[in-house]
Symmetry: C2
Subunit: 247 residues, 2 copies
DNA sequence: TAGTGGTCTAGACCACCGC
DNA sequence: CGGTGGTCTAGACCACTAG
């Protein structure tokens, strides 16, 4: 088999949901029925269902058939970490203009978030990102070494730094996003070509590799009327938290 | 056993992480070692690890020991759906003041989100929520029948509607949150006691029962400097999406 | 190359749901 | 009550990591 069996089962079910064969609220086939249909054991079918539950596509309760949840419009992890990949996925043309680029000592905040010693040097980048020619976001990103050195070696006009890093063997595996609302500073307003104090959606993100080593720490500010985030969660998937702001 | 074995294993590991026995980046014991320690089969231990991966506490890759990720600051699903429960969990005193309360025909937006026919009646509630006496959020919630009728029957000064509904047998199982930034309208500003056009963090939330039936649709607006949301995700947990705003 | 996690099987018993 | 999902076992083989 080219891929694994349980992934194939999960993909089949997801495809059937997207195609409309199972509407929201519909009850899915039982484990034993699918096991017979695929010639697989019950455990393999359960693994497929578990993947769909984790993605928020279906819900599951003891004794009752599994049920299709509302509109699944999920993105892959890669689309979430890379602005460029996301833009292309929604049919827009991504672009970036470098505003500032520097190798300097990390400030206290950056050291804490990147989990590096005080005084470490980090590579810092400020870019304005565009969707089909319109400025929608400012990213201010600090890269930890040795990733910073790779970024420094890239041409200034590279559109997707994330994709280039992946080509170089850097693996982004886990991210923590903190989302709140702020008023545009005068610099924000100038870069986004809007008035000062306009509401911006701020996403502060830490991305780690599979060993939990922090790779980047970014402060991204989106125009409030350009972008929204959606989160799915349930009793079994605890991905979201609400925090009192401590600033 | 009072609870299930795999949950106990998962709780033990999580407790060891929280207590500092395993720092961020530390490598956890192998499956076979834990299986021997608990007298359990390998499958049970894997189930425990899978729960921790779903919660974003650890990461897992073939061939290598599992690794502890950065600080786990997760909330239960219930704390996320109920403002009151969340407030108490962070040591603040929750309160609510009802601004408006009405039973009326749902508008187009509400029908779409609650998945009820056009013209259905919904119960609509506007409340200002306080943390230790300070106004921090406005909630504008539409409840679908028959939940609406239960809400209508409650005393006006009930602090936690969600908890009262749970007492009445309503199960909140799955939620979809859409998060963006907006400027305070004049009504928003009056209710939150701030100036007009101040940046607010808006959370629009649909909550469903275990069968996927929508129960409530809410537009919650937080003071930008009072609250933030955090999301954890990874290649295996796809809970977050970024959307172009369509308004 | 030895150890580890990823996948899969073929059973078993129980708790819960819906008819 | 029968069907269903939740839990658990005891094996097996493979792909990958790390020393």
């Amino acid at each position: 088999m080219g891929t694994t069996l349980y992934r194939r089962v999960a993909e089949d079910i997801k495809a059937a949901i997207v195609s409309g064969s199972y509407q929201a609220g519909a009850r899915l086939p039982s484990e034993s029925e699918l096991a017979a249909r695929y010639g697989a054991s019950r455990g393999t079918i359960r693994q497929a269902f578990a993947a769909l539950v984790a993605d928020g596509v279906i819900s599951s309760r003891q004794g009752a058939r599994r049920v299709v949840l509302g509109g699944p419009r999920l993105q892959t992890f890669n689309e979430l970490v890379s602005f460029s990949r996301w833009a292309r996925a929604i049919g827009e043309e991504p672009a970036g203009r470098v505003e500032r680029m520097e190798l300097r000592a990390a400030n206290e905040d950056e050291c804490a978030h990147l989990e590096v010693p005080l005084g470490s040097r980090v590579y810092h980048l400020t870019r304005v990102r565009y969707l089909s020619g319109r400025p929608v976001m400012i990213e201010r990103t600090a890269y930890r070494e040795p990733v910073g050195a790779m970024v420094a070696g890239m041409a200034l006009d590279v559109v997707s730094i994330t994709e280039r890093l992946e080509d170089l063997g850097v693996i982004f595996a886990d991210a923590e996003h903190q989302i709140d609302a702020v008023a545009a500073t005068s610099e924000d307003a100038r870069l986004l070509e809007v008035r000062s104090r306009v509401p911006l959606l701020r996403e502060r993100r830490r991305t780690a590799d599979p060993d939990g080593v922090m790779l980047e720490w970014s402060d991204d500010r989106y125009l409030g009327d350009a972008v929204a985030f959606t989160v799915r969660n349930s009793a079994s998937v605890k991905a979201l938290s609400r925090l009192p702001s401590q600033r």
